[in-house]
Amino acid sequence: MIHPVNSLTRLGRGTLFLLKVLAGIPQLFVRFGLVTKQMYSVGVQTLLIILVAGLFVGMVLALQLHYTLSTFGAEDTLGLLVDLALVRELGPVVAALLFAGRAGSALTAEIGLMKATEQLSGLEMMAVDPVERIIAPRFLAGFLSLPLLAAIFSAVGILGGYMVGVDFLGVDSGAFWSQIQAKVDFYDDVMNGVIKSIVFGFIVSWIAVFEGYDCLPTSEGVASATTRTVVNSSLAVLGMDFVLTAIMFN
């Protein structure tokens, strides 16, 4: 299935395509309405799953960590551990995986269907560059949305951890926050997490729009491109996460 020459050809085609997309971004600032519309379908419509998932991840983390920490009598560090786990890893990574499944697949399917129904060709024949008008706004919207979604995921997760830890398991509220504020560094932890989510937003949006634009213009072509978006962007996110973590926190 995986042929090295084919894979490299695709990588090259994807990179050239990315350059075209990036070249189309500056003129979007004049037509920001296009991006707003896409941020609605990419960002707002992903918000619900991010809120629910973030809340539950935070709650589960608090339950699990409390169990382990209480055997050492270190429940006071619960907030710190929940916060660090979310801000450094789970926020950016899980948000990116959910984003790939919810928004990335929808982007690929939409662009692929526009190709299959000749809408992209139609634009070209109207002397409108579909990369500038269709692809670039979607890419930019995805790129801008994921860091916001990841921040919301982490914030909601911390609140979920607080709810379980403080309200249900009896950890002291003051200890919960003071441990966090003493030990979580804004630049090393929070900002590095934000940088991660910016990188992931770039990768997932790139893969999603490229797979859509590059797919075979048939039903099977769109279906397999959508699958590839979810699989490839999830793998890319996990792989990049390892690299970024190694660079940032070594």
Binding site: L148, A155, V156, Q181
Partner: protein
């Protein structure tokens, strides 16, 4: 219809920025880093143990600053620790003692300052003369065993 899309995107972006703000102010140390200025003092230690950059500097348990840099002076074979102390805590006498302590049995290490009685005060870029190194657990246990062993030897004779 487009207006309602704009509104919901506005709410989304607002929520995202609010979440970032919360992570910055409530869920990290950004709020505890004072916006006031700092002044620097340094101290030399034979051994700093597990002290790291950004470890706390405390007086009577109150955090007054943090470790800015740790260097090794290869001529005197000592560690040179540079600390940032907030400007509002500028009343430390010259003969203040700096020690490396551990919070709890296995906790983080920090620098504890114990003010002396000198009339002159520590200024910017000044150096603390009196220091006490970190206690290294292995050394303490080693000394303890050694003294026990010598007690036993004495009893034997």
């Amino acid at each position: 219809m487009f207006k309602s899309i704009e509104l919901s995107v506005g709410i989304f972006v607002g929520a995202g920025l609010a979440a970032l703000f919360m992570l910055a102010m409530q869920a990290s140390n950004l709020s505890s880093i004072s916006s006031d200025g700092f002044y620097e003092i340094s101290a030399r230690f034979d051994n700093i143990g597990g002290l790291r950059v950004k470890s706390a500097v405390k007086v009577s348990g109150v955090k007054v600053g943090q470790v800015k840099a740790i260097d090794y002076d290869s001529e005197s074979f000592e560690a040179v620790v540079t600390m940032q102390v907030e400007d509002k805590y500028n009343q430390f006498p010259k003969d203040t003692i700096a020690s490396v302590f551990t919070s709890g049995l296995l906790g983080e290490q920090y620098i504890g300052l114990e003010p002396g009685g000198d009339e002159k005060l520590l200024g910017n870029q000044s150096e603390i003369r009196h220091t006490q190194s970190a206690m290294v657990l292995e050394q303490i246990i080693g000394q303890f065993l050694f003294s026990k062993a010598s007690e036993n030897d004495n009893q034997g004779f």
